[in-house]
C-alpha cells in the first residue's frame, strides 16, 4: 500500500455504487465473476446447474451475435454486483460493438423518474427524435414542491384512489372494508404513522423527489408491516377520538391471528394504486414514457441503427415500470414490422424480490434470458483478489490508472503499485505474474470479516466495500498507532488465547488490540509456530505485531499448519483446531455445543444482551454454568462463617434469588453481577467445560488452566460477593438477627415466659429454651391476647426462635444436630438489644431486603412493635378498672398485706357468725386470698404504679405476669362478700318480721337480745369494709 496516495484516492476508489466510480477505477477494481447462472425461467433462488463466467455470458448473450430482439434480466440480491456486472458488460460492449449499434446506458445515479427520462434525452443519438421539445419541457417543468407537501400529495392521492376504486384492479375488497380503510387512512394518528421516516410514503417519495438519499434498492410499495397496529398505536388512535370505522379497521390489524393477514391483503390492495399515484404526483403519465421509447426507436430505425439498452436498475422506474417493460418487450419484427422500430437488445438489472413481485407474468414470459448472480459470488481467492484490487487501485495515482485505461485496460498491463507499507504482509496473485499486497489485511482477516463482520444477505461486493475495505483502510490511514481501533464482532474467542493476552498485558486497550489482531488477522489459536525462521503467533508473523506496536506473547509451539487448512478460524464450522487437537476425548457433539455456547458468550462480552432463561439447548449450558455450577462453587468455596456471615444467613440467601447474574441479562437477577468482560466469559466457559467435557469434574485435557482460572476468579471476587449478600453493609441499618432477638424478647414478655420488671435478668438462656404454650384462661386485655395470637400464628414464633438458634450456631460442613454457640457474638448482640430496650427504629429495618427470609424477620418484629403501644394502653385500662374495685372496698389506694389479712379474718368471722345463727348462706373460701396475699398486694401496688402513658416496655413487663389474674381471688372474695351481705340483710329482715308480734305480747324481748346485738355488730363491720 502507499498510504500517501491512498489517503487522497480512497474516497474516489471506494464507492459502493460502481456507477459513480471513474471508468479507470472501475476496471482496475473489477474482479471477474465466474459463478453466474443462466436460466430460461425465473427462479428466485436457483441452485445447482452450471456456472458461467461473465465472459461467457457476454459472448453468448450480451454481445447478441445473432442480432435479434432480446430482453436479458440480470438479477440477484441487493448488493451482489448487478450494476457492476451491467457496467462491465456495457464497457466491454462499447469496445466491440458494431458501428450501427447505439448503446444507451440508463443509470440510477439520481434515482428518480425525471432523472431517468433526462438520462434518455441526454444521449446524442436521440437528439433528433420527434417531440423532443415536449419531453424536455416535461422534465424541466417540475414545479418545485415542498417536501412535506409532496408527501401529503402522495398520501392523499392514495385515499382518492381508494375512494374512487372502480374495481378495475385484480385485488378487490368489500365496500365496508374500503370505507373502514379510508376512515383509517384519514385518521390523524395513522397519517403521522404512515408518513414517518421509515414509512411507505417516505419510500415512495424517494422515487419521485430529486436529490434524496435512500437505499438504491428501496421499492416504492406498502409493506404488511406498515399496517401492523401495536397496542400503543391503537391507544393513540382511540385517544385522538377516531371515527368508529377507523377503530374497527385498527382492531382488525391488531388481531393476533388474522391481523398480519389483513395487513398483507390491504398492503397488496393499495400497491395497485402506486403507479397511478406516483405518476400523478410526478406530473408524468404512462403514455409519456411509452411514447418516448417509441420515438427513440423510430429515430434509430430512421438512422438505420440498432439499440442496445443497459438499465442498471429497473426499480428506478417505479411508477412507469409497466410502461417501460411494455416498451422494451415490443419486437421490431412480425406484427410490429410496420411500426418502423429499431431492434432492441435490453440488459436490465433488478433485485430478485422486485423481479418476483413487480414484473407481471406476461413480462416474465417475454424475458429471453435470466442471468442470476448468487450472493456468494466470490470464492476465497476471488475475495482476496477483490480486496487486493481495491487496495492496489487506491495506491495508484489517477494518471497511472487512466494511462492503463487509455491503453485498452489490458489485464497483462494491469498496473501494480509500489508497496510502501506492508511489504512483509500477505500478497494475492492475480495472474500474469502479478501479485497484489493485501496490507492492511491478511487473508484470515478478509475471511473473518466476510464471514462474521457482514450479516447474512450482506455478504456481497457492495458491503465488502462499505463495511470491510473502507473502514479498515481508513483505520490504518488515519489511526495507524491504534490499529485496529474499529469495534469488531469477535466470534467464539478462544478463552485460553483471551486469558493469555489479558493476563500478560495489563494495558486493557493494548490487550484488546492484540486480541483483535490475533483473532481476526490471525487464526485465533493460542499457539505459535516457525516457518522459514519467522515466528507466527496465532498465525500472525511477529514482524507484523512489531510493526503495529503490539507486544509478542509466548504460546505453545505447534507444527507449521498445512497450507490447505490455512485461514481457518475457531468459529469456522468445517473445522475447529482447538477442539479437535486439544480435546480428543470429548465427543464431537459436545465440543460443538460448548463451542456454540462460547460463541454466545463472546457476543455477550462484545456488548450484546444475553438471555439464558431457557433450560435446554445451548443457552441451557450457560444457565447451568452460571446459576448452578458457579453459584454452587461460590457457596462451597467461600468460608462464610470466617467471613462473618452465619450459616443461617447463607441458608436464607440460598432460598432467595440466585447468587450470580450477568450484566445485560434480559431476565432475572442475582446478588453479584458478573461484568460482561473477557474474564467473566473465560470463567463461565471453564465451568461449561467442567460440566460438559469433564462430566462435572476437572478430568479433561487442559483443565489445569480452567481450575486455576476459577480459583483465582473466586479469590478476586470473594469480598464483593460477601458484601453483596451481607446484611451489614450499611452501618445505619440493623442486622436481621438483632430484630429476631428483639422480637423473641417481646414474645417472651407477651407470653409471660419472662415476667420480670427489668431486662437485666433476661439471659441468653431464655432465647434458646423451648416455648411454653400460652395459658388460655388469662385476664389480659383483648388486644394483648390478639397480639400473642398473631405472633404465634402458623409457627412464626418457632421460626424466629430457630433463626436465633442457627444464627449463633458455628456449624461444620452441611450442619449437625449439635449446636456450638458463637457465645461472644451472641452475648454482644443480646447486650445491644437490651441496651436499646428492644427498640429498633423502622427506618433502620431492612424491610426491602432482597432476601425474603431476612425480610420476614423484620416484618415479624414490625408486627409486634406496631401494636405494643395499643396493647399496653388497653392492658392498663383494664387493670385500672379492676384495681379500682379493690381501692373502693378498702377506701384507700395504699393497700398493704395487713389490710388484706384483716379482710380475710373478718370474712372468716362473718361466715362463722352466719354459721352459728344457722342462716343458710354458703361459706366463701378465703384460702386463695390468704395464700396469695403477698402476690396480690404486689400486683395491686405494681398496677397502681403504672402510668397510662408510661414506658411501653415497662408496662408490658409489668403485665407479663398477668397481675389481674393474680388479683382475681381478692376481687372474687370481695364480690362474694358483697353478695352474701345482701343476702344476709334480706334473711334477717324476714326473721325480724316473723319475730316482731310474738315479742311484744309475750315479753320475750330479752330472749334474742344478745344474738341480735352480736349480728348487728358483725354486720356493721362488714358494711364498713365495703
Amino acid at each position: 500500500m502507499d498510504i500517501n496516495i491512498a489517503r487522497d484516492r480512497i474516497s474516489y476508489v471506494v464507492k459502493p455504487d460502481s456507477i459513480t466510480a471513474s471508468q479507470g477505477d472501475f476496471l482496475a477494481t473489477h474482479v471477474a465473476i465466474n459463478r453466474l447462472h443462466l436460466l430460461n425461467k425465473f427462479d428466485i433462488l436457483p441452485s445447482g446447474g452450471k456456472n458461467y463466467s461473465e465472459e461467457e455470458v457476454f459472448d453468448q448473450y450480451v454481445f447478441n451475435p445473432n442480432n435479434q430482439h432480446q430482453f436479458i434480466a440480470v438479477y440477484g440480491q441487493s448488493g451482489t454486483g448487478k450494476s457492476h456486472l451491467i457496467r462491465w458488460f456495457e464497457a466491454k460492449f462499447e469496445q466491440v460493438k458494431p458501428d450501427n449499434e447505439v448503446v444507451l446506458f440508463i443509470r440510477r445515479s439520481d434515482n428518480t423518474l425525471k432523472g431517468t427520462i433526462r438520462q434518455l434525452l441526454e444521449k446524442p443519438e436521440v437528439k433528433g427524435i420527434a417531440n423532443r421539445e415536449i419531453y424536455e419541457r416535461l422534465v424541466k417543468a417540475s414545479v418545485f414542491v415542498d417536501e412535506n407537501k409532496l408527501k401529503d400529495m402522495l398520501y392523499h392521492n392514495f385515499i382518492i384512489e381508494l375512494h374512487n376504486d372502480d374495481d378495475s384492479h385484480p385485488i378487490k375488497i368489500t365496500n365496508v372494508k374500503r370505507k373502514r380503510l379510508e376512515a383509517f387512512l384519514n385518521n390523524e394518528v395513522v397519517h403521522d404513522h404512515l408518513m414517518s421516516e421509515k414509512g411507505p410514503i417516505e419510500r415512495m417519495y424517494s422515487k419521485i423527489a430529486e436529490h434524496t438519499l435512500v437505499d438504491r434498492d428501496t421499492i416504492a410499495q406498502f409493506l404488511p408491516g406498515d399496517f401492523y397496529v401495536s397496542a400503543d398505536l391503537f391507544e393513540d388512535i382511540h385517544r385522538a377520538g377516531a371515527d368508529p370505522k377507523a377503530e374497527k379497521m385498527a382492531r382488525e390489524f391488531m388481531a393476533d391471528e388474522t391481523g398480519a393477514e389483513s395487513a398483507s391483503v390491504l398492503a397488496s390492495y393499495l400497491n395497485q394504486f402506486v403507479n397511478d399515484v406516483i405518476q400523478r404526483c410526478a406530473g408524468i403519465e404512462p403514455g409519456d414514457f411509452r411514447q418516448i421509447f417509441q420515438d427513440i426507436r423510430k429515430e434509430l430505425y430512421r438512422l438505420e441503427k440498432n439499440l442496445t439498452l443497459f438499465i442498471e436498475d429497473v426499480t428506478s422506474f417505479t411508477g412507469v415500470d409497466d410502461a417501460l417493460l411494455d416498451a422494451l418487450i415490443v419486437e421490431h419484427t412480425g406484427m410490429n414490422a410496420t411500426d418502423n422500430l429499431c431492434r432492441i437488445s435490453s440488459i436490465v438489472g433488478t433485485t430478485s424480490n422486485y423481479l418476483q413481485n413487480n414484473f407481471r407474468d406476461n413480462h416474465k414470459d417475454r424475458i429471453t434470458q435470466y442471468v442470476y448472480i448468487p450472493s456468494d459470488v466470490f470464492d476465497d481467492n476471488e475475495l482476496f483478489e477483490f480486496v487486493g484490487r481495491y487496495v492496489n487501485t487506491m495506491s495508484l495515482t489517477e494518471d497511472v490508472v487512466n494511462t492503463w485505461l487509455s491503453n485498452h485496460a489490458n489485464p497483462a498491463d494491469y498496473p501494480v503499485h509500489e508497496v510502501k507499507q506492508g511489504s512483509g504482509w500477505e500478497f494475492v496473485s492475480i495472474g500474469f505474474g502479478k501479485k497484489l499486497c493485501l496490507y492492511p489485511f491478511t487473508k484470515n482477516s478478509i475471511k473473518y470479516l466476510y464471514n462474521y463482520g457482514l450479516t447474512k444477505g450482506h455478504q456481497t461486493p457492495r458491503y465488502i466495500i462499505r463495511d470491510i475495505i473502507e473502514p479498515v483502510v481508513n483505520d490504518i490511514i488515519n489511526n495507524s498507532e491504534n490499529f485496529p481501533s474499529v469495534k469488531y464482532n469477535l466470534v467464539n474467542v478462544n478463552t485460553t488465547l483471551s486469558y493469555g493476552i489479558h493476563n500478560q498485558i495489563k494495558d486493557d486497550a493494548l490487550a484488546d488490540r492484540l486480541l483483535k489482531i490475533l483473532c481476526i488477522w490471525g487464526n485465533g489459536q493460542p499457539e505459535q509456530y516457525s516457518k522459514k525462521d519467522i515466528t507466527y503467533v496465532s498465525g500472525v508473523p511477529e514482524s507484523i505485531l512489531t510493526e503495529l506496536g503490539l507486544p509478542t506473547l509466548k504460546f505453545s509451539e505447534v507444527k507449521e499448519p498445512d497450507p490447505n487448512q490455512e485461514g481457518n478460524h475457531p468459529g469456522d464450522e468445517q473445522d475447529n483446531p482447538e477442539v479437535t487437537t486439544d480435546v480428543p476425548t470429548v465427543p464431537v457433539a459436545v465440543q460443538e455445543r460448548v463451542s456454540k455456547a462460547n460463541a454466545i458468550l463472546t457476543e455477550w462480552s462484545n456488548g450484546k444482551e444475553i438471555d439464558y432463561s431457557a433450560t435446554g439447548g445451548v443457552t441451557g449450558l450457560i444457565r447451568k454454568a452460571v446459576l448452578e455450577d458457579m453459584c454452587s462453587f461460590l457457596f462451597s468455596t467461600i468460608n462464610w462463617q470466617v467471613e462473618g456471615i452465619s450459616d443461617d444467613n447463607i441458608n436464607k440467601v440460598k432460598s432467595s434469588k440466585k447468587l450470580l447474574c450477568l450484566e445485560r441479562q434480559t431476565k432475572g437477577s442475582g446478588f453479584y453481577q458478573m461484568p460482561a468482560s473477557w474474564e467473566s466469559m473465560n470463567v463461565i466457559s471453564a465451568f461449561i467445560r467442567w460440566r460438559e467435557f469433564g462430566n462435572q469434574s476437572w478430568n479433561y485435557p487442559d483443565s489445569d488452566l480452567d481450575a486455576f482460572l476459577v480459583t483465582s476468579w473466586a479469590s478476586k471476587i470473594k469480598d464483593s460477593v460477601v458484601k453483596a449478600v451481607s446484611d451489614r453493609v450499611e452501618e445505619s441499618k440493623t442486622p436481621y438477627i438483632e430484630a429476631a432477638i428483639a422480637a423473641e424478647m417481646y414474645r417472651l414478655i407477651l407470653c409471660g415466659e419472662f415476667r420480670e420488671h427489668s431486662l437485666k435478668n433476661l439471659s441468653t438462656k431464655y432465647l434458646f429454651e423451648s416455648t411454653t404454650s400460652t395459658k388460655a384462661n388469662n385476664c389480659h386485655s383483648k388486644e394483648w391476647n390478639g397480639l400473642v395470637s398473631l405472633i404465634t400464628r402458623n409457627g412464626a414464633d418457632t421460626r424466629n426462635k430457630e433463626t436465633i438458634r442457627q444464627y449463633f450456631n458455628i456449624t461444620q460442613g452441611s450442619g449437625s444436630t449439635v449446636v456450638v454457640l458463637d457465645e461472644p457474638e451472641l452475648s454482644r448482640m443480646v447486650r445491644r438489644v437490651k441496651t436499646n430496650r428492644l427498640e429498633i427504629a423502622e427506618e433502620t429495618m431492612q424491610l426491602q431486603d432482597p432476601v425474603k427470609l431476612r425480610r420476614d424477620v423484620f416484618n415479624y418484629l414490625k408486627d409486634i412493635s406496631d401494636r405494643i403501644k395499643d396493647v399496653s394502653r388497653a392492658e392498663v385500662d383494664k387493670a385500672r378498672d379492676v384495681v379500682q374495685i379493690i381501692y373502693d372496698h378498702f377506701d384507700s389506694d395504699e393497700i398493704e398485706e395487713d389490710d388484706i389479712i384483716e379482710l380475710v379474718d373478718t370474712a372468716k368471722s362473718f361466715y362463722g357468725e352466719i354459721n352459728s345463727t344457722q342462716i343458710n348462706i354458703a361459706v366463701a373460701s378465703t384460702d386463695a386470698v390468704k395464700k396469695g396475699v403477698k402476690q396480690i398486694t404486689k400486683a395491686i401496688n405494681d398496677v397502681g404504679l403504672i402510668l397510662p402513658e408510661g414506658d411501653v416496655l415497662n408496662i408490658l413487663m409489668t403485665f407479663a405476669g398477668d397481675p389481674i389474674s393474680t388479683m382475681q381471688p381478692l376481687i372474687d372474695l370481695l364480690k362474694t362478700l358483697d353478695g352474701d351481705v345482701e343476702k344476709l340483710d334480706q334473711r334477717i329482715a324476714v326473721r325480724k318480721n316473723a319475730l316482731g308480734v310474738i315479742g311484744e305480747n309475750l315479753g320475750t324481748d330479752n330472749q334474742y337480745r344478745s344474738e341480735s346485738e352480736s349480728i348487728e355488730s358483725d354486720l356493721n363491720k362488714v358494711i364498713s369494709l365495703r
Binding site: F555, S556, T637, V642, F708, S712, F768, I810, V818
Partner: protein, 259 residues
Amino acid sequence: MFNDRMATPAIPERVFTLCKIVEKRPISSSDLKERMEPEFLHNGSSYYADYRNAAEELKLISISDNMISLAVNPDVIKSIETMRKYINGQLEQFKNGLFYQVTSAYYSLGNQVLSGEKNVAAMAPQMSQLIGRPVDAMAMRAWRFWVSFLGFGYLQDMFLIPNTDVFLKDLINNAGFEKKKRYSFGEFIERLRPYCNIVIDTNPSNRKINYGVSNGLRALHDSGCIKLEHILDQEDIWNLYPLKAHAITGTVTNITISK
C-alpha cells in the same frame, strides 16, 4: 487434629471462638464448655473436647489446673485471619501429624488430583498409601475444613482445587520480606523454608514448584501482591507448573514482593 486424629468438629471457627472467650480471662474447662455448648441447648453429645484439643495443639491456649488461658499474644487472635496467619507459621511443628502429611501428599500429586476422585473422602485409601499410615474418610472430611481455611486451596463441594495463594501470602508476611526489593527465587524459597515444606519440595536442587503452589504464586502475581520474573542472565531458575497461557509460563528467576 494436628498431632494425630483429625476430627470434623474441630473446625477453625470454633477454635477461634474458644480463644476469644478465654482471651478475657482464664476460665475453667467446664465453664468454657458451658459457654459454647450450654446445657440448655440439650445437645446430647459434645464436640467441645475436639476443638479445645485443636486449640491446645496449636498452642493457642494452655490448660493448667483445669483452668484454660490464652497462650498467645492477644494480637494473634485479633481476627480469624491473624489466627490463620499464626497457625500457618506453626505447621512445620506438626511434621509427623496426620494433617501435615496428608496435605503434603495431596500437593505432591500436582495436577493429577484434577483427574482423580471428586470427593476428598474417597481419597482416603490413596492418602493412606502415600503416607504409609491409616487415613479414613472421616479424617479427610475434617482435613478439608482446615486445608481450605489455611488457604491451601478452594473447596468445590467435597473437592479441593489446589491454589495456595492465601497460605503463601501468610508465609510471605510472616517471613518479613522487604517490599519492592527483587529477590532471587531461591532466596525467596529459602526464607520461606521454615514454614513451607508442607507443600514445597524439601530438596532445593529440584527447583520444581508443584501445581497448587504454582497456582498460588500466579494468583498472587495476577493480583499484584508479588511480581514473578524470568530474567535471562540469572542462573537460579525455578520451574513452575507450566501454563502457557499465563504471563509466567513456566520458569522464574526472581520475585518482588509488591504489597
